[in-house]
Symmetry: C2
Subunit: 228 residues, 2 copies
């Protein structure tokens, strides 16, 4: 094996390319490109040609769409292992959404034709991809359905719990989103998101220091998320 091939050592290799060997691994290694993005930078633009398969190595990103009137709607927030440019990638010529970095992030990019060629030859990898894709899509859909059924308070609670449990694994964390972005995620206005946060603070459920959130009463928050 080529000692210069760093993919062999990549901690994310197991995500898709676990059982890759020989020519295919070489193809991947020599062809891949890593890109760095600073917080706030755009990674992918809606309606742009897809020619790479890319996934997140580190950082945090948001997927969003821009509607006819220019307003943004956040579809999902993704962390490494979690997100991949997966959706659309195999079915479309162009991205259906934009992606930008919420924190400094690094992506690994592989030419679509290389991925296709590898999938054609390696059925186990194909199954891995199907599995990953299925999981990502399912999560987005279920989250979306759940948000749709909740009221404002429930939506904000859901979002906070999501950050606490699935991203920062702590009851205290720095929000990676502005209030406006939170609103774009839950589909409400900025003002009402703020009002809800203030309410939670008054009720002793949260402590808020700017972007730093501390969940004081997780049980209350959970019961609000589950509808109360």
């Amino acid at each position: 094996m080529d000692p210069r091939c760093t993919c062999e050592l990549c901690e994310l290799k197991g995500l898709f390319f676990d059982n890759l060997e020989g020519d295919h691994l070489d193809m991947l290694c020599s062809g891949k490109v890593e890109k760095e993005y600073a917080k706030g930078e755009t990674i992918l633009k809606e309606d742009t040609m897809i020619n790479e398969f890319s996934y997140l190595k580190s950082g945090l990103v948001k997927l969003f769409r821009t509607d006819s009137s220019g307003k943004e709607q956040i579809i999902t927030i993704a962390k490494p292992y979690d997100y991949v440019s997966l959706l659309s990638v195999f079915s479309n010529d162009q991205y259906n959404y934009s992606v930008s970095a919420l924190e400094d992030s690094v992506t690994c990019n592989i030419k679509m034709e290389d991925v296709r060629s590898i999938v054609r030859d390696n059925g186990v990898l194909a199954l891995n991809l199907l599995k990953k894709m299925s999981k990502v899509a399912d999560k987005i859909i279920l989250d979306s359905v759940e948000i749709r059924t909740k009221h404002l308070r429930g939506r904000v609670a859901f979002l906070l719990i999501h950050f606490s449990h699935e991203i920062y694994h702590s009851p205290e964390f720095d929000l990676p989103l502005s209030r406006k972005e939170m609103a774009e995620y839950v589909g409400m206005t900025t003002e009402n998101v703020i009002r809800t946060l203030s309410e939670f603070r008054r009720d002793g459920i949260l402590k808020i220091y700017g972007k730093t959130i501390q969940i004081v009463n997780m049980d209350s928050l959970k019961s609000i998320a589950d509808f109360g």
Copy 2:
């Protein structure tokens, strides 16, 4: 080729199993099971074990979830070619949602292990599956995001246009959903869906005879759907 193998003649063969030959085709043919469902029957139940890959041969179905309080939320409506039990199938042990027949329907079912085995051996088929899956998931997500951004009138208009254009290919059609189900789809109450339909009727946009809808002024309806 085994002359008793009817899969060879199946009009939906091209969906996934286009380039299948020999043993795999035999495996598919001998292993597959077709099932018929009458309008209203349940096809799949949420939280039930997945052990078959199934797709719709004819009819019309709805995918939905039941929330903690027992209310149903429709995720999407699917017609042949369109829907497959695709989501979840490769990533989960259990279904995340239920499926039931809106019209008399026929599904074709294949053991998951057979599908997996075929995918492992046939990379082109794997790519087809990835493509199909990507497309289905993307459509559901984008529709969901779009519905989320609209108001009541826009949502109902969107739904009617969806039926007219993508399912019945005609400005006149019989609604396969009850008013209650329409409400479950757009995430509003039954009463308000009815009110909106009545409004559209008063405004000369629709003619309504029970479940039969005739779109009289498609341009108005479209501009309402696109936000007006």
